[in-house]
């Protein structure tokens, strides 16, 4: 109660005192130019102007102080404006000098950065050149290896071909339009039987070796007889002799699928059948060796 009374009484008193005081100071203590100079100064203070342009900032501080002093002494408005304007110019000068120093610092660090990037560029170029050279060398090596491989393959093929030629020559093989033909004469079988003699076996072994060395070739075994005896007997005998060769080859490790047999009996004679010598020529087994990877043509 007492407190409320006091406040109510005091407030108008204070107000009237303030009004009385401000009434005394009819001269304004600032101008718009001085206000501007003060705010420019604060802005400069908050940036790095004092650090980069200490001398110019000091001169600006002194100029602003002079303007402030003139204002607090309530000097002539024109005089205050004049001093404030001078202070503004000096603050701006300090800011420009600071900007110059900042730009110079940037220039120095940028020049360093530029050198760094140049170096990086050169390193990258050298690296690329090295990579290219390495790639070229790898390519050259690969090409060389390929060429060597091709040469080796050719050499292997040639070696295989000449080995085959030698083996076939040993078997007295003859070149026909159906392929190479090896003829096993009558003497390689026991008379009127389909059992191979030891020299017959030796010949078949050579053929087995050829087939083992040349897995892309197959054989057709064809049996023939002379015209003596019944046709049925001769067909059956020629077939059995051809089968005997296939069985022998199978024993020597050649798959039965690579060997085909055919019994022709007294057909396709190679001699007249009029003499014992000619008839012996007709009793034979012909073995046709296929070309690499190709089937054997049927007898015409």
């Amino acid at each position: 109660m007492n407190k409320t009374f006091t406040q109510k009484a005091v407030t108008p008193l204070v107000l009237s005192m303030v009004l009385a005081l401000s009434a005394c100071s009819s001269t304004p203590v600032t101008t718009s130019t001085l206000d501007q100079a003060r705010s420019d100064y604060t802005a400069a203070q908050n940036s790095s102007v004092a650090q980069y342009a200490p001398n110019e900032f000091k001169a600006a501080t002194e100029a602003l102080n002079a303007a402030n002093t003139a204002a607090s002494n309530r000097e002539d408005l024109t005089k205050i404006d004049q001093l404030a304007s001078l202070a503004k110019t000096k603050i701006a000068t300090a800011q420009e000098v600071a900007r110059t120093k900042q730009a110079e610092a940037n220039l120095a660090s940028s020049a360093q950065e530029r050198e760094k990037i140049r170096l990086q560029a050169r390193t990258a170029e050298a690296e690329a050149a090295r990579r290219n050279a390495e790639q070229a060398q790898r390519d050259a090596e690969a090409a060389k290896a390929q060429a060597e491989q091709a040469t080796a393959a050719t050499r292997d093929a040639q070696a295989q071909a000449s080995a085959l030629a030698a083996q076939l020559a040993e078997l007295k093989a003859k070149q026909t339009e159906r392929g190479m033909v090896v003829t096993l004469g009558d003497v390689l079988f026991n008379t009127d039987q389909a059992v191979l003699t030891s020299s017959g076996m030796a010949t078949v072994q050579k053929l087995a070796n050829i087939l083992r060395d040349n897995p892309d070739r197959t054989v057709l075994v064809e049996g023939f007889t002379d015209s003596t005896g019944s046709t049925a007997h001769n067909l059956e005998l020629s077939q059995r002799r051809a089968e005997a060769v296939r069985a022998a080859l199978a024993q020597m490790g050649i798959e039965r699928s690579r060997v085909d047999t055919r019994g022709y009996g007294e057909a396709y004679p190679v001699a007249s059948n009029n003499s014992a010598g000619d008839r012996q020529l007709n009793r034979r087994v012909e073995i046709v060796l296929s070309e690499a990877g190709k089937p054997i043509q049927a007898r015409r």
Partner: protein
């Protein structure tokens, strides 16, 4: 002390020497102030302020001309004030010109760096 004295330095020496005897005469200090401001305006013009800070340089020149006129009219107080303003504005024009040059040099190097980096990136991606 360096024996090579520039015009502003000479003028400043003259000013401080005369300031000591300022009470004796008002004429001499005003003359010196005007001379100093002339030197400052010339220095700013040489620094390229005509192109880089034309407004400031024009204002400084105009204040200098008025200071000269006041000197002729023997208004030494006005002459000194105008000379001080002309000097400050000439100095601002000069520092503005200098900072513009330094900034454009720094910008040019920055641009240079940007282009270099771009080329480097392109070269790197081309070689990958």
């Amino acid at each position: 002390m360096s024996p090579r004295l520039t015009l502003p330095a000479v003028a400043a020496t003259v000013v401080s020497a005369l300031l000591l005897s300022a009470c004796a005469s008002q004429k001499a200090p005003a003359t010196a102030d005007v001379a100093v401001s002339q030197a400052a305006v010339e220095s700013a013009a040489q620094a390229g302020a005509a192109e880089l800070a034309p407004a400031e340089l024009t204002s400084a020149r105009e204040k200098f001309a008025r200071a000269n006129q006041a000197l002729k009219e023997r208004d030494y107080k006005l002459a000194s004030e105008l000379a001080t303003q002309a000097q400050a504005e000439a100095k601002l024009a000069q520092s503005k010109a200098t900072s513009a040059k330094a900034t454009s040099a720094a910008d040019a190097v920055q641009e240079n760096i940007r282009v270099l980096r771009e080329e480097l990136d392109r070269a790197n991606s081309a070689n990958k």
